[in-house]
């Protein structure tokens, strides 16, 4: 990522959102939309622009599930972590995907293809366990079904 492009983008966002501390979140949201994640360089420049500490910005970025502080894979697999999916054996789905992809929850495969993440309720409680791959929703999963679905994304 070119620093100049980032700075230009930031200038633009500040013009739009303002420079008060509460504008940090919308600025981060917009940067995430542009770059897909908020890396160290991005967070540092946001902190510098607002004149606040990197730790404060990182704290905000790491709090929200819809903000990523790490580069994500092409396909982000989100597993529902709510209680109803939990009761319907979500743990086994996760275990199957972790061993198939060779990564742990929260990580991304080396080829940057798949990331594993949690999501909060997807409104499919009656048909859990459920998951999303990018914007596609899947329910009534079994471990082998989940693996097949994920591998169909290439």
């Amino acid at each position: 990522m070119l620093r100049e492009t980032l700075l230009r983008k930031l200038d633009h966002l500040i013009e739009f959102h303002g420079k008060a501390r509460e504008s940090v979140l919308p600025v981060l949201q917009d940067l995430q939309a542009t770059y897909g994640y908020l890396g160290e360089e991005t967070i540092n420049e946001v902190a510098r622009t607002f004149g606040i500490s990197q730790t404060e910005v990182f704290s905000v970025a790491s709090f929200y599930h819809f903000l990523n502080t790490k580069e994500k894979g092409k396909y982000v697999i989100r597993i529902c972590r709510t209680i109803s999916c939990e009761l319907r054996d979500k743990a086994n789905i996760l275990r199957a995907l972790e061993s198939e992809l060779g990564i742990r929850m929260g990580e991304t495969t080396h080829d940057k293809k798949y990331s594993l993440d949690y999501a909060n309720c997807m409104g499919m409680c009656d048909r859990g366990p459920s998951m999303m791959v990018n914007d596609d929703l899947y329910a009534d999963l079994t471990p082998s079904k989940a693996v097949d679905i994920v591998l169909s994304y290439r």
Binding site: R48, Q54, F58, S62
Partner: protein
Amino acid sequence: MAELRITINGASYKALDGMTILDVCRREGIHIPTLCNHPDLQTRGICRICVVDVKGSKTLQAACSTPVEAGMVISTTTDRVRKSRKTIVELLLANHYTDCTVCPKNLNCELQSLANEFGLTDLRWKERRERTIPQDDSSPVFIRDNNKCVLCQRCVRACDEMQGVYAVANLFKGDSMIVGSAFNKPIGEVVCINCGQCVAHCPTGALSEKYCIEDIWKAIDDPKKVVVVQTAPAIRAALGEEFGYPAGTRVTGKMASALRTMGFDYVFDTQFAADLTIMEEGYELLGRLRSALTGGEAPALPMTTSCSPGWIKFQEHFFPELLPNVSTCKSPQQMFGAVVKSFWAGKMGIDPENIVCVSVMPCTAKKFESIRPEMARNGRPDVDYVLTTRELAVMIKQAGIDLHDMKNSTFDNPLGESTGAATIFAASGGVMEAALRTAYEVVTGREVPFKNLDISPVRGMDGVREASIKINGAQKDWSFLEGVELKVLVAHGTANAKKVMNAVREGTMAAHFIEIMTCPGGCLGGGGQPLPGTPEIRLARAKAIYEEDADSPLRKSHENPSVKKLYEDFLGAPNSHLAHELLHTHYTARGQY
């Protein structure tokens, strides 16, 4: 503020609009347990240990963050209150790596006290938490053990609100939440000024200073080593607290005896070096004023003090372009070390290689200061080890000494001689007062025009204080100062310093000389002082410090006979070439991002 009445446990009490339930209960001596609350910090209402029953509200209310309302009926002792408080402690312990017997906070831990208060004899959640997160020992001065963190955010608030640094925050969310720094990097890799206010405000053993106790015992036991100890002014007004004395008890004489009993070969006083600092810094200020007022080379003004190492690192990170404004004087701790290993070593015929210079400081940042490369000569550090007040208390106890049993004794000479001006270095405003007592007299030949030499406008606990002295009757050498109104400013807490330095940066600062102390109330509220530290305790310590000054036979640094002799026999004059070589330093611009 409107007065109103509320009922607590069946009795009626007066309260003021704007008070919280906790405020009223504290005033009335009604006990409410607290954990995330601290009088130095803004209220967040995170831990809920302080819950009380408020008639008419369905849920229990947090006393620390619920404002009183007229006619409120509160109960602090119901079954529901007791049970939910107890459950909170149990839940905290379920997620806590508990190893009290080998914990630095053993017997001084607010979580442990809560467990004791609720008489816990068993854990409802049996599985014991292990040390699943590695300790972070990357800071030069403290250790973070997140396995003992209760997420109360006291460290976070201290670092942000009091110090304006914001080196730590809550990271991530839900059950992955931890306290840490940007990108979850170790604290040693982010901007941190080592002030230890996070350590001093942590209720548990999650934060503790790095001990160097064993190194010192080893040095004491080594017959080849001459072990010299210096104690900062703030220690004598606080060490007693570790032995059950009320805050504000002066234990200067007992401390000197304890140090001797422990086996230190020479028991000296940092205050000697504080007097020396005033000579060097006072003349430095007058020198800068001379060039400013006589049209010489434009010096950096206002000049700021340099004795508080947290502040120095703060300035290096946040205002690197204003480093020329910082006095080049080393801090008293470092001046002391430099004098011990040069002048004193020569006088005593001891090879400086065999001298171990230990200092006892109210401060964690002093540990970092002592290992700065610029604080060494020929690769030999001026000061070898720095103990906090708390560590000294541990050592005294390890040696089987009870401070109560010690007789009063005095420091060794010559490096134990000092004046009241040096004592008040411990309090915010003290360095300024000491400097003015000397500088004014040097210039006019008369004492500062304040009753009993007490320069009260610079004393107190307000975050930023200003004062001025008009110079009348300047002596011949100083005629350029005739009629000048010398403006001074005092600030403590680096969050306050930030505001002051912003004004300097913008060119709107009128002061000539600024004293900055990193910690609340100055060194007496340092990050290495006995716990707890509250505004009342700091006031008590300050009172003790000013009393010790008032009781001193000599109260002006330039009257310290041993300092005078040091100039006569060794240094020549203040700011001489040798003084510069030994007692002055330079700084490192570090930046922030």
